[in-house]
Symmetry: C2
Subunit: 354 residues, 2 copies
DNA sequence: AACGTTCTTAAGAACGATTACAAGAACGAT
DNA sequence: ATCGTTCTTGTAATCGTTCTTAAGAACGTT
């Protein structure tokens, strides 16, 4: 409680204010104020008076009025299924500077994995709260596709779509990605390669299972149902349960996981069971997020190009917003493998071990 | 390429539509349409016709028009400094259901740690793109405080403020939290307790340093500048560098870190240097996020009540939106300690493994 | 001096929703 | 039959901005 009150000294009174008030104070018309503030041509005297009045009143233009008039919000929405998944963090990071450079603000909303949530999101997009949407849906239903197709505002899908759907999208090549992982493991002489997948009724879950089965066949590895487990979600906790089940029913010498969180869960569960990584069991994650580098041992991870995908999707969306007639595009980003400790050269340890 | 085109069969044409179109189709006035759709009283016949017309046209109300008229957006904004920090993920998770239950949608924007970004954010809030803002600023400047004070729309600060500032806020008690960590370590006989802090010109950085110095004095532990290092940010990478510096200049038997990311960095750097955790060096994190549980070994972490703080802040904001005259409140959430492996008793370690 | 050109500024019409107000219909009561 | 009440529906104003149109001023040209 200081004795001196210095409030009101130079306090911009942001209570409320609009063009009319500024105009009245400057002694000009609202049109002129708008023109000056939006960089139209005006006399020097006019410009000065308007600027002063606006400053004095702490004028801030009203977003909804402007949007109503112009039809633009200068916002782009990014919808993610799970804010806890580091792959989405990576996407947010990549997208933010791109949309900012194009003059948009990014707003993030988190949906559940429920397709209905996403339909709601598309609907509310059509209320016009953003100029476009970047959507990365886990599950795709015909209803969701129909909603996206009917959307008045542009949507770019990050992820795969059924082949006949004509929507801008940027997809990963999960199958090839899983193939890279299996190839890497097989080259080390690993034979009992397990898959820890997320729900197979999701787009990534289905793609990763397909890629796994294909790779197992290609490399002529033993295939057995016991080596495949499905977590109830792409989360750490679900991963722990799934891996515990796996270890109860099989003895893999390598585990490929559908994302990095599941892979961290595998590391933990293996450690709890007394198995050494990578000596006894190798672990491969997917998405190549921060979590892969932070894990102990650090995780070999399939880079599905999330950052590139997000970047490409953002550019696609911006182009589409600016030119609604642009042809529909579908991009595929090639995967690569980031090798780290969790699949570390077996030779070093194998020598020691045997 | 199927031979049959079934487009236009029942495709809701969401091109554009407004109350006037719906009204024309239903043969009633726009006012009646609005009334029916917003749950006003209307005859059965009227209701049916309006519903049908709205459905047929795929009518979706325009957000900006509604906002312009009513002054409400039904959105609450949450601004976080770093989407990569798991403590913010925790906050987002907690806040989402609370605002949803109150009928708001949550939009997340990420600011940098630069106070100017946050001032921009407050300004754009005053454009009316949300009904209120939850802000967790890393650095607080007089300008930011002035901007928040002058805001036309309510803001609740998650974090500490200078004592004389009258703004709704929910703060952690970092000092006591650090004290809990030091007490726990001292009770194990650890004496050379180091601090890995974030930048001290940030609010949490300053608070944690103060708490550390106070605790060191209280427990009569040796204090030396070599035991205190400051990372250039609250990130993993900055943490690695800071811990490397620390290990180069001192031999701590315990490390208290200003957040979980820094603590994970400490684990990694200690492992790289050959030190065993917790046998040689104990590590304590802060915020008690998922990262603490996922780390190897799992991290003992000071729970600064982030989830509770976020929850309380959201409730405060909603109350404030609904009653702008409500008295200003400041809450403090008490910290607690979640003990895990990284400070585990050395004896216990042996039991588990044998 | 009359006229056309250019430049500056103002007036007013949108954008699409909500809502106060008024007008008319329906209905029961006296 | 008249009046008052209630219920339903329509008319029109309003939110704050942008932008078209047009009016007026300034200036050069013939």
């Amino acid at each position: 409680m200081s004795a001196v009150d210095d409030e009101g000294l130079r306090m911009a009174e942001t209570k409320k204010s609009n063009l009319a008030l500024v105009a009245a104070r400057a002694g000009v018309s609202v049109a002129s104020v708008s023109r000056v503030l939006n960089g139209g041509s005006a006399s020097e005297d006019m410009t000065r008076r308007v600027r002063e009045a606006a400053e004095a009143l702490g004028y801030v233009p009203d977003a909804s009025a402007r949007t109503l008039r112009t039809g633009r919000t200068d916002q782009i929405a990014l919808a993610v299924a799970d804010v806890g998944n580091p792959v989405y963090v990576q996407m947010m990071r990549t997208v933010t500077p791109i949309v900012a450079r194009a003059g948009y603000r990014l707003v993030v909303s988190s949906t559940g994995s429920d397709p209905d949530d996403q339909i709601d999101l598309v609907t509310s997009l059509n209320r016009g709260y953003a100029d476009g949407l970047l959507l990365s849906p886990l599950r795709i239903t015909p209803e969701l596709i129909e909603a996206m197709r009917a959307s008045r505002l542009p949507i770019v899908v990050i992820g795969s779509l059924p082949p006949d759907v004509e929507l801008d999208n940027v997809r990963a090549d999960s199958a090839t990605g899983v193939g890279l992982a299996v190839e890497h493991l097989a080259a080390q002489g690993r034979r009992r390669i397990a898959l820890v997948n997320g729900p197979v009724d999701t787009v990534p879950g289905a793609a990763r299972l397909a890629g796994y089965l294909d790779a197992i066949r290609r490399f002529e590895l033993p295939s057995s149902p016991e080596l495949q487990v499905t977590a109830t979600g792409f989360t750490y906790r679900a991963g722990r349960r799934a891996v515990a089940d796996l270890l109860g029913q099989a003895s893999p010498d390598a585990v490929v996981c559908a994302n990095d969180l599941l892979a961290v869960a595998a590391l933990k569960e293996l450690a709890a069971s007394g198995a050494r990584v990578p000596d006894d069991v190798a672990v491969v994650g997917m998405d190549d997020t921060d979590a892969a580098e932070l894990a102990t041992p650090s995780l070999t991870s399939v880079d599905l190009g999330s950052a590139k995908r997000a970047k490409a999707a953002a550019k696609l969306l911006i182009r589409r917003i600016e030119d609604p007639e642009a042809p529909v595009r579908g991009l595929v980003i090639a995967p690569s493998l980031s090798v780290r400790e969790s699949t570390g050269p077996v030779t070093d340890h194998a020598e020691v071990r045997s």
